[in-house]
Symmetry: C2
Subunit: 325 residues, 2 copies
């Protein structure tokens, strides 16, 4: 993935040099701090890749790419407050290092700066770019609220769960690609196909995330093994398994998902893992991820572009949907 | 003020019918609730007035007017969390009625919806409108952070205090007028003059607010008399007075500003009031307000428009800067 790494270097460079402002320091410092924590930078790379499908001067889409990454970071800062998370990428979250008020405000500022960067394009492109971005941004908020609502719910329908991850995660990947395409002057049709490709790959991506959380190696993922189990996060593994377990087993699974569970963390994850395997929920999840992946690939291939131009996106989709870390 | 009331009716009607979305209800309901709490709606009226200075079909600027009001309400919802305020316009704040997470998210959604409405204009107008809006939005965040920083500071320079209220309050009034003008196709020059007029009137407006808090009648303002004193909010009255009091008097003033003060609220406000009168800080504040007002009026009059067209804005400025409620 030659292009990916080239883009990554440029974007990281720009993000580390990004200045939201100077005074008051208590507002702008947290923004710098958070952007300095790093990240996979997949979303801004997607903007540039979406652009390069239709035009070769990807530099023209750099500000839109940064806008997408700032939007993503805005949502992470606010989500961290809501989730009462202490750590992000191994470092203190903004509300822990400073306080909640500053974290709210730093997030707000990043959202505004995202719009500022987004608007830095010839005005003829702005209506379509804004329409795509705004629709996505509303859905990301809705997805986060659904996620919070589901945490308090006993049971969640699979369909609603899928809708939640679509809004919370996938639409941002789709919009990143679409905005890149629109910035390059692509027609509405192919830009929309690219969006749908991104949404489907995003679904597969999120499912692999859920799979790797329980079945991946923490050495490779860099995350706590079974973090979702320990945090009581009911992913598709849980929902599918619950629909196929005996009443006794159900109780076992529910028990290890409770924060009050008396067993060791390792035991709790082990119990969940065994029950997921018993109901073949791992197979179900991987198949589902593969289905989304296949739909996505077919949508991408339906865009009228040379295989040469499509190749980087096919490679990235393969990487996102079939990784083991 | 015939125009003002006409606009107010239209705007209130639109705001009450405004739908940010349907599902999840836990996200969209707080938005409806908060917009239903009412408000003076001065800012969106300013958009329409800014428009009508250059063109008669103010309906064309309705979405930009709503955008400005949504932005204002977004900042109120988030400020209420930061200020730990229980009440807004006599009713529960969003984070009290629901919870903090929902209030953060409902605010985020309102900001996004503000951008959505703002972008609903012919694309040739968008770059200038966005530039004005984004600059203002960043400054409002900076003003809020400065306000929080100052709360923890012992002494604040008057100049920095003025910079804080300029960013926190005044620039939004200026931007409202400027965006209205830009939407009507006004040139950059007069639109900028209108912005500066608004900022100056905004400064006078905020100073009258600070004056009325201590010297106004709660029957007319509908607010707690001396609320700023009781909440330890160090306005220009406090800062000016502190610079002119004897050491003993200073201690008295500082004491009644502390939440731990043992006197009755009424006594605390009475002590502050007496000390402000002793240092003629009331006269100082009113003169300062008048100075800003005069500068604003002169800026407005320098715009090349008929007195007939300028009249509604002159009336509104007079009302905002010289009210007793």
């Amino acid at each position: 993935m030659v292009n990916f790494e080239k883009y990554l270097k440029i974007l990281n460079d720009q993000l580390l040099r990004f200045e939201s402002g100077k005074y008051p320091e208590n507002l702008h410092q947290p923004v710098r701090y958070f952007l300095g924590l790093g990240g996979k930078r997949i979303r801004p790379v997607l903007v540039l890749m979406g652009y390069e499908l239709f035009d070769s001067q990807y530099e023209k889409a750099l500000h839109q790419a940064l806008a997408i990454e700032l939007f993503h970071n805005f949502s992470l800062i606010h989500d961290d407050i809501m989730d009462k998370a202490d750590l992000r990428r191994g470092q203190s979250t903004v509300h822990k290092k400073w306080n909640e008020s500053t974290a709210i405000l730093a997030g707000d500022l990043m959202l505004i700066k995202a719009y500022e960067l987004l608007a830095d394009a010839p005005s003829k492109f702005l209506p379509a770019i804004f329409e795509c971005f705004n629709k996505m941004a509303v859905e990301v908020c809705e997805g986060q609220q659904m996620d919070m609502d589901f945490e308090r719910a006993d049971a969640v329908e699979e369909e609603l769960y899928l809708e939640m991850i679509r809004k919370k995660t996938s639409v941002l990947l789709g919009a990143a690609l679409q905005i890149g395409a629109l910035r390059a002057g692509a027609d509405a049709g192919p830009a929309e196909l690219l969006y749908e490709f991104g949404v489907n790959i995003g679904m597969a991506f999120q499912m692999m995330d859920d799979f790797l959380d329980v079945f991946g190696s923490s050495e490779k993922t860099g995350k706590v093994e079974g973090g979702d189990v320990l945090n009581g996060k009911k992913t598709l593994l849980y929902l599918h398994s619950m629909n196929h377990l005996s009443p006794t087993e159900k109780e076992q699974l529910m028990e290890v998902y409770l924060p009050t569970c008396k067993r060791t963390p390792k035991e709790r994850v082990e119990v969940a893992r065994k029950l997921f395997l018993r109901t073949k929920s791992d197979v179900y999840l991987k198949q589902k991820a593969k289905d989304y992946y296949t739909v996505g690939i077919n949508l991408l291939k339906s865009i009228d572009q040379s295989p040469e131009r499509l190749r980087p996106l096919l490679e990235l989709a393969e990487f996102l949907a079939n990784r083991d870390y």
